[in-house]
């Protein structure tokens, strides 16, 4: 081709224009259809999210098959805590009203780790009046026990003050019924 320099530059300029225009077309093609119906996101995403199977059941869903734990849990200080936080999800355990899977049950040291996820003084996210925290190992030292003790050796995991209140009642530190 025998084009003048100016011509060539013009062609370069036009190509840039064409490329940019082409980019806009490609952009249009790539944007999902339902984008922007409600806002700058895919409207279909809402439908898809609604179709995701539900995995959590709430505490009420556990009670009918676990009346023993339910009874303790409901009357203890942990009554506001979700069973599933400590045990895993309903979906991993029950399908169509039948037990289909085993849930993890923490043992020994794991229990201490679990309790400290919420009760460690070092986690200062919430105030003492919302959740009581303990410093480790001071809390165990205060009770004059070895620091290898696990929390569930004194606290009932489902009703953490159950035995402690009981103990205080027996020793007369607290009146029965409180």
């Amino acid at each position: 081709m025998d084009l003048s320099y100016r011509m060539r530059l013009l062609i370069v300029l036009i190509s840039i224009g064409v490329l940019a225009g082409g980019g806009l077309v490609v952009k249009r093609l790539l944007i999902p259809d339902s984008f922007g119906v409600y806002g700058p996101y895919r409207a279909d995403a809402i439908v898809e999210a609604a179709l995701v199977p539900i995995r959590h059941g709430t505490n009420a869903s556990c009670f009918k098959c676990h009346p023993y734990e339910a009874n303790i849990h409901k009357n203890g200080r942990h009554h506001t805590i979700s069973c599933e936080f400590c045990h895993g999800t309903y979906a991993d355990h029950v399908k169509n009203g039948k037990k289909t899977g085993t849930l993890p049950v923490k043992k020994g040291k794991e229990i201490t780790t679990l309790c400290l996820r919420c009760h460690n003084t070092e986690i200062k996210a919430r105030k003492e009046k919302v959740i009581k925290t303990v410093a480790m190992p001071d809390h165990l030292k205060d009770q004059n026990v070895k620091i290898t003790h696990n929390c569930n050796q004194c606290h009932h995991v489902h009703a953490p003050l159950k035995y402690i209140i009981r103990a205080k009642q027996i020793t007369g530190l607290m009146e029965a019924g409180s």
């Binding site: 084009l3 100016r6 780790t113 460690n120 070092e122 986690i123 996210a125």
Partner: protein
């Protein structure tokens, strides 16, 4: 130590929300403004020559363009490394929204890349045409593409080139300023962080960007010329240092003004910002960034500006001051980006940053990201000659 107790060993103070314990924007986000800053400053040097006709800058003008281009190529690398799913980054460009600051950056980046590439092509056209004739094979093909397949070097064509360069550099300046000002804006736009969300942020970033870029050019010019055993154009260094002095005074003044306005206004979060600068950042901000990194260079620059200094010593001082200022700007980025995240939204506690060695955002990755632009620069040097050859006095 048992994991259950290990929290007790953390050097956090007071109330820190669990989601504030960990610094989420780590070293890669420090590099991001640093690299775009280098691009900006280098471009300013080129602009001073090509648009404002500061002739003494001629020896470094072409080099600054390539330097800017090499770093611009890597400007998004740290961001991509920071992302959990880097392959999704283009999605944001498909569906930009006024509430997405990052999409804006993507577009500004693309435009500045395009403009810079064309500036380089036009600036180098005479050389490229010459090289095209002597080259063979795929290299020749490359040169043909880069010269728009034209060997027209007539007076008329060169005059046209000059005009185009002026035009491109002319629009290049606002684009470069927007590019880096935007980086500052992205931080300034984070309402949740009181150290960042000030309207001064883009200004501070912009001026310190110019400082770092000019320093990088001075240092690179001196080092490369020395290694190659070639002469150093003293007048050029002098002009660079003068420009640097101006930008550095502005940058430092604004950095300090920001601190002053924080402490004078005593806004709701002031106690946190003050505690941050005097607590966790006492060393890296007051001592390293301000005393060592800013006051000392200011004195050196003052001496260089006022007294008559021998050329060789002057060049040496230029290299020293550039090195210190390059570190100062890096520290400034560090103190803003990482420092700003060391305080909890609880407005009551501070946390600590522990850099990791390996990993996507570790120290090793930082080193690699900073080396890549130099590799690109080396590759460029094979295609585009840095310095005009032959006539040494006329470099």
């Amino acid at each position: 130590m048992d994991t259950a107790y290990s929290f007790a060993a953390m050097p956090i103070s007071n109330y820190v929300f669990p989601n504030d314990l960990h610094v989420h924007w780590s070293m890669m986000i420090v590099l991001y403004p640093y690299i775009t800053g280098l691009v900006d400053g280098a471009f300013i040097i080129a602009a001073l020559y090509y648009l404002f006709d500061i002739k003494t800058l001629r020896p470094v003008a072409r080099f600054s363009l390539l330097f800017a281009l090499a770093f611009l190529c890597c400007a998004t690398l740290p961001l991509l490394l920071h992302l959990g799913r880097p392959e999704r980054n283009l999605n944001m460009l498909l569906t930009p929204s006024p509430t997405s600051a990052m999409a804006g950056f993507g577009y500004i980046y693309a435009v500045s890349m395009g403009v810079l590439v064309f500036i380089v092509l036009f600036v180098y056209r005479p050389d490229l045409v010459e090289l095209r004739v002597t080259s063979k094979g795929w290299l020749q093909f490359l040169y043909r593409a880069m010269t728009f397949d034209s060997i027209d070097l007539s007076e008329d064509a060169l005059v046209l080139d000059k005009k185009i360069i002026r035009f491109l550099v002319g629009i290049g300046i606002p684009i470069a300023v927007v590019l880096h000002g935007y980086v500052g804006f992205i931080f300034g736009g984070v309402k949740a962080n009181p150290t960042w969300s000030t309207p001064l942020m883009p200004v501070i970033f912009l001026f310190s960007a110019c400082v770092s870029g000019i320093c990088a050019i001075i240092l690179a010019y001196i080092v490369i010329r020395k290694i190659k055993g070639r002469t150093i154009d003293h007048r050029c260094i002098k002009t660079c240092i003068k420009t640097l002095t101006l930008f550095f005074i502005l940058a430092f003044a604004f950095e300090m003004l920001e601190v002053f306005s924080h402490s004078y206004l005593r806004t709701g979060y002031h106690h946190m910002v003050e505690g941050l600068l005097n607590g966790p950042l006492a060393d890296s901000f007051w001592f390293w960034q301000v005393k060592i990194g800013s006051v000392i260079p200011l004195i050196i620059l003052g001496v260089m500006g006022i007294f008559n200094i021998k050329d060789r010593l002057y060049d040496f001082m230029a290299a020293v001051v550039s090195t210190i200022l390059l570190l100062q700007v890096f520290l400034m980025r560090w103190n803003v980006v990482i420092g700003g995240q060391l305080m909890s939204k609880s407005a009551r506690g501070y946390t600590e940053f522990h850099p990791e060695w390996f990993g996507k955002e570790g120290i090793l990755a930082v080193i690699i990201v900073m080396v890549i632009p130099f590799i690109i620069l080396f590759v460029f040097s094979r295609i585009f000659p840095f310095w005009t050859t032959g006539n040494e006095t006329d470099v």
